[in-house]
């Protein structure tokens, strides 16, 4: 039992049988619901409209993220050391994992100058898990939900933003869009990375009596540096 793949070639017999069953069923004609008729929709679904405007993207992003417990810090390129120091203070002692993205350029040197061991995105998982802080760039941000988006192709890593207890993401403010629809609908299906993750706040769970706890498996602390 191989399953279909590039090796086995497309259009297996299993697929044909599976889909034929579906086609045969649908061909019977789904009865209409007379009490609550199913509406029809032609063309692209209309854009989702939100109750409140998001004209000032940076302000909207900052307020949405802050409400979720994210630490948002506007910073100019020349002053990233300050944000770095705050993150290091928050994270405590230990190595720091950093990805190699445009937004994180120059950080490894700054970290080493502060006496920190620096791990690249290609460090092995055990090492990344032992880091106290993971630093990445962000390919985009979503203002309304305070979301930062990490691209595995660009960052080279899924784990740097996931294993350490603190995640610091550097986001260029021009990369902030108003809402998720703006981001999602613009995605080019032909050039998607293998892993794109929309991160909205620190890791959380309500599984114990619905009491909110953070840092369940992912980072319990998320910091976003807004590069102006």
């Amino acid at each position: 039992m191989e399953g279909e793949s590039l090796k086995t070639g497309e259009g297996s017999r299993e697929r044909a049988q599976f889909l034929q069953t579906l086609r045969d069923q649908l061909a019977r004609g789904t009865p209409a619901n007379l009490a609550h008729p199913l509406p029809a929709l032609e063309g692209k679904p209309p854009a989702v409209v939100y109750a409140v405007g998001a004209d000032d993207l940076i302000a909207t992003f900052t307020s949405a993220a802050t409400e979720l417990g994210v630490l948002v810090r506007p910073v100019s390129r020349s002053a990233i050391g300050e944000v770095l120091d705050e993150a290091l203070e928050l994270a405590g002692v230990g190595p720091v994992a950093v990805t190699n993205e445009p937004e994180t350029a120059g950080l490894p040197e700054l970290l080493r100058s502060r006496g920190r061991e620096v791990l690249g995105a290609d460090a092995d998982p055990q090492a990344v898990a032992a880091a106290c802080l993971g630093i990445t760039g962000a390919v985009a941000g979503i203002a309304r939900s305070g979301t930062v988006i990490v691209d595995s192709g660009r960052s080279g890593s899924r784990l740097v933003s996931l294993l350490p207890p603190v995640h610091l993401a550097f986001l260029n403010t021009p990369a902030i869009v108003a809402d998720q629809g703006t981001f999602l609908r613009a995605l080019d299906t032909a050039s998607l990375p293998s892993n794109l993750v929309l991160i909205t706040g620190p890791s959380r769970s309500g599984d114990i009596e619905l009491v909110l706890t953070v840092g369940v498996h992912g980072p319990g602390k998320l910091m976003v540096a807004l590069l102006v």
């Binding site: 619901n33 007379l34 009490a35 609550h36």
Partner: protein, 260 residues
């Protein structure tokens, strides 16, 4: 006393009201007459079929609903502008489910009829909200208003009953679970009786600390479920239909008018 009626409406009194609370039907007629409405009562009406429909017996439901459908149709053909129904779930049955019920039962001509007739069926508070104001003596009692599921969700009727009750001088009390199901649900109430009772209990418990003078609603099935359970748990509460509250307040004004 000869009254000049400006409009005519047919009454679909429903089997529940007829069997368990005919005084509700009486109150409906009197309150409508005071508002200048002539009420006609199609004699051949019976049940809307809902009990069997909800239990999954569409054929039986359609057979029972058919005479009611035809009786209401005749009334509409003879000049009634609408049908008024003092039970939210029955009004829902006619308006929302009748076409499907008759189709499923293979009665296609009746289904077509039902689309027209069903659309003309108005629930009581829905009709009265838009009618002229009538003199009344304010009720003054504290009432807990129960929002029956079918009329609330299927017909979208929410504010009308509260508006009318408050205008009649009732003081509506806070009831956190006022829009939660009372637990009747037709045969559900006897197939899963413990669960049905538990659902009623949760609503009634919310009224224990500061009991109202009565429970108010627009659907006799819900009112019977709540009052019967309140009795059995030792904290009896009367559950009264909106029409009866309006009628009582308006009757008091009529008496005052005569005596005064």
């Amino acid at each position: 006393m000869k009254t000049k009626y400006r409009r005519k409406v047919a009454l679909f009194v429903t089997c529940v009201v007829d069997a368990l609370s005919p005084k509700t039907g009486v109150a409906v007629v009197r309150t409508l007459r005071r508002r200048g409405i002539q009420v006609v009562f199609p004699q051949d009406q019976g049940c809307c079929g809902q009990p069997a429909w909800n239990a999954g017996f569409a054929q039986e439901a359609a057979l029972v609903a058919r005479p009611t459908l035809l009786a209401l149709k005749r009334a509409l053909d003879q000049g009634a502008e609408a049908v008024v129904c003092p039970a939210g779930s029955c009004a829902t049955m006619c308006r929302v489910f009748w076409p499907e019920m008759f189709e499923v039962a293979g009665l296609h001509a009746e289904a077509a009829l039902a689309r027209r007739v069903g659309a003309s069926v108005l629930e009581y508070s829905e009709l009265v909200e838009g009618l002229p104001i009538v003199p009344l003596v304010p009720d003054g009692r504290r009432v807990a208003l129960h929002k029956s599921c079918h009329m609330l969700r299927e017909l979208g009727l929410e504010g009308q009953a509260a508006f009318l009750a408050q205008r009649a001088g009732c003081r509506l009390v806070e009831w956190p679970g006022d829009d939660r199901c009372c637990g009747f649900g037709g045969t559900f109430s006897v197939k899963l009786p413990e669960l049905s009772v538990a659902m009623a209990d949760e609503k009634l418990r919310e009224l224990d600390e500061n009991p109202p003078d009565l429970i108010l609603g627009c659907d006799t099935s819900c009112l019977v479920q709540l009052s019967a359970r309140s009795q059995a748990r030792g904290r009896p509460l009367a559950a009264v239909h909106l029409a009866e509250v309006l009628d009582r307040a308006e009757l008091a004004a009529e008496r005052e008018g005569r005596d005064g």
